[in-house]
Symmetry: C2
Subunit: 340 residues, 2 copies
């Protein structure tokens, strides 16, 4: 199917259907797009497109609707990314530059993305597991209670409270702090957890218990509560614009509650590599009516997390793809700056 005009027809059908949400007929097509041929000709083309599975007719006397395969071709061959307007670029820059910390970056991004695309936006929190330990801090709140603070290269911070068996002297605390940092600072999280595990063997006997207590909390903070399993969601109100409530809105609303499902939806596309999953191409059969546009983000090609939008298969792919890419790039840049 190399026919240029048939591709034009498909593109026109997708664009019209996305805009009107109604099956599009041959007459309306030639009127709204300057195709330069008659409706009859378009009808012939449509018959071929249908035979090849790119479009579909809900019933005999109706217009045509793109199939998932049709959207796929549209995205792969026909769509050019809508460039972001200057105003949109400015909005991205000013909003994200105002973020005060890592969580704030995520919250602002997800909100921004949902506003730009008028879809449901999802942003995965950056993976701590890929980052390195920048510093470990111990603060004695009382002689037997120590606040353990883990600071990561991504700007993420985890804190935990440790209850000690007996009181600890300030000097011992400083010593322990130094030992912890020597073992872990600058080291990737997985390696750091390992190094810390061996630390208890190297300290003075009377420090062993305390060290063990602190280390166990630290390693737990590193592995157990992995922030990369958290996601932020925004724009659910945009679901209200969906047509079919039961087949489209309800399953998606349910999916949005399950963060595990969301993570699977987002997938693991590389940094700066846009993934578009259309309808049944996704991992969940209940979500056969929704598409996902996602990409990875992170500084220097290092994949720290994914972000994207979900919406009806009948969505504005060029616009969504452009917005997702723009936001991902900006987030990557911010993470990069914070990383110096």
């Amino acid at each position: 199917m190399v026919d240029e005009r048939k591709l034009d027809v498909l593109r026109a059908i997708v664009e019209d259907y996305v805009a009107t949400e109604e099956p599009v007929g041959s007459k309306a097509l030639v009127e709204r797009h300057g195709l330069g041929v008659s409706p009859a000709t378009v009808r012939n083309d449509m018959a071929v497109l249908e035979e090849e599975g790119y479009i579909h007719q809900p019933h005999t006397s109706a217009g045509r609707v793109p199939t998932d395969k049709g959207y796929r071709l549209f995205v792969d061959k026909l769509a050019t990314l809508k460039p972001m307007s200057a105003a949109e670029r400015r909005a991205i820059a000013t909003l994200l530059d105002g973020a005060v910390d890592l969580d704030d970056v995520v919250r602002r991004s997800v909100r921004l993305l949902s506003q730009l695309t008028r879809q449901v936006a999802i942003v995965q929190y950056p993976a701590l597991s890929r980052s390195t330990v920048r510093h470990v801090e111990l603060v004695a709140l009382t002689p037997t209670r120590v606040m353990v603070i883990l600071i990561l290269s991504t700007g993420g911070v985890e804190q935990r409270l440790v209850e000690l068996d007996g009181p600890i002297a300030d000097g011992d605390l400083a010593e322990l702090r130094a030992a912890l940092n020597q073992a872990s600072a600058g080291v990737q999280i997985a390696a750091a957890a390992k190094a810390l595990g061996e630390l208890a063997d190297k300290v003075r006997p009377e420090q062993v218990d305390t060290t063990k207590a602190v280390v166990s909390v630290l390693t737990e903070a590193m592995s157990d509560h992995r922030s990369d399993e958290r996601v932020a969601v925004s724009g659910t109100a945009n679901l209200a614009r969906y047509g079919d409530f039961d087949t489209a809105v309800r399953p998606l609303l349910e999916a949005l509650e399950e963060h595990v499902v969301l993570l699977k939806l987002l997938g693991e596309s590389g940094v700066d590599a846009l993934t578009v999953r259309i309808g049944h191409e996704g991992p969940y059969s209940e979500l056969a009516a929704t598409s996902v546009v996602a990409t990875g983000y992170g500084p220097q090609e290092l994949h720290l997390g994914s972000l994207g939008v979900v919406g009806p298969t009948r969505m504005d792919y060029p616009g969504s793809m452009a917005a997702v890419r723009a936001v991902a790039r900006y987030v990557s840049r911010i993470l990069d700056e914070g990383n110096q």
Copy 2:
């Protein structure tokens, strides 16, 4: 309207309508509830109830539906809190006790509450502004970059990065840390911000710039990014069970995106004081079809935040009220323990 039986009739109408979502007629009423009188008698009572505005007839040949005023009377006079089952109590205890930090408590609570009530749950993050400063920590990441960490009595932690004009010596950093803690530790946030502001006048001249930089970031962390303006939401999928999409679901979905709106919805009810706002009683006319059940929480009667559920006016008030109160009490207890 002191008639005991009329109140019984109203209670029966509310319960039936909540269960079936359909206007309830006189015959069905006497059948399902053991009222011991004939339908005709009930009809007379219903006529009076309607005259007084407690119930309403959608159209002539239909049954009755409670009005907001009817629900109000039901909640005030007729409803007894459904006690939580043992299993529910256990679920609350085990789930919330497993929380690792303050944010986790909030996330778990909101999820729990939405599951218990099968409604949309909202939990406000605890107000930092009411808590006291427990400790301020400074960590030199590089000679000119300092991580400022603010630890609060509620267990909340805020961190910020400060870029200094020139390098700072370890000794000076320790000195500054001591000064900061002396000025703010144990002090309420508002007072602490004030005390810190005066600190720059008291340090050695060569420390003034550094002090000012750190203090400005600290006070900003204290006031600007107030976590009590953040809320967590869960259970939006439950909206799918609503009947009327346009009048009930859409406005609520939109409201859920606006955290300011949510905070206003939750209101500022005292700790252990349940607030029920029914339909038009709330602050937003678009949300005339939704009710809010909320309460404050916090240790020792100290109001740190609010939590609650929102749903259709046609909701299970006794069940929601019981769940909201149970979760709030448990959260309060956890905050209290963390505070020792």
